[in-house]
Symmetry: C2
Subunit: 139 residues, 2 copies
């Protein structure tokens, strides 16, 4: 039930891009160095973020990646749901076909409620909020 490195690194990746939102496209190499994560791994993680149109990219020299929307409009909940493959704690949450007992299962609704409480918390925080917090922490 722990978060994977995908969503944790992905959040840091997005946060790094948020920090550089006004500096044009940033290359992954730079982000990798700053965050201490391998470029190759970040290249994997950024794919779904591009597909979901949170990130735009440009190839070639002076290329790089940049947020497709301002940091105020992207929440951590969206990032985590994307990289963790859904905002649920069980397969049965939004697909009752995977379990015969789904319709009478007393815990199914509970797992759903718990996941919702968790994601409600994450969706209340934007990248801009995290940036502010970073500055506050560094003082």
């Amino acid at each position: 039930m722990k978060l994977s490195t995908r969503s944790r690194y992905g959040t840091r990746l997005m946060l790094d891009m948020a920090e550089n939102y006004n500096n044009g496209p940033i290359h992954l190499m730079k982000i990798a160095q700053r965050q201490g994560i391998s470029v190759k791994y970040l290249e994997q993680i950024i794919i779904p973020l591009k597909k979901a149109e949170y990130v735009k990219s440009l190839r070639g020299p002076k290329g790089g990646h940049i947020l497709a929307k301002p940091p105020e409009e992207i929440t951590v909940g969206e990032i985590v749901a994307l990289l963790e493959d859904g905002a649920s704690l069980t397969e049965c949450s939004y697909n009752e076909g995977v379990c015969e007992r789904a319709d009478i299962c007393p815990t199914r609704q509970l797992w759903r409620d718990a996941a919702q409480a968790m994601f409600k918390t994450l969706e209340a925080v934007t990248l801009a909020d995290l940036l502010e917090k970073t500055k506050a922490n560094q003082k």
Copy 2:
């Protein structure tokens, strides 16, 4: 970030014992049959539940397992926290030694808040609550 079968099966195991709380010790074989889970696996899962004194056991013929407290006094949150190895979403939540950035990390607190929201939901539900719900669902 999905729940493991350990906590899901563990919850069903506890729920089965809750249902039989007034029938004396139940052997795992019976529970395994009812729940469609292998005895061997349940034997593994029940160990931490015994250590944490949620379950008492008796060996020999007519032996079996029984809840150590009434179903009203055991919450799903306790079971899940026990079987998922803590009520957190990251290793750093309650052990900052695992990450250099722990003290300035802007996401660390957020992962903690999210986990807390989730477990607050799970801790609000007891085995007795789930039993009631089961009856309601079967009507």
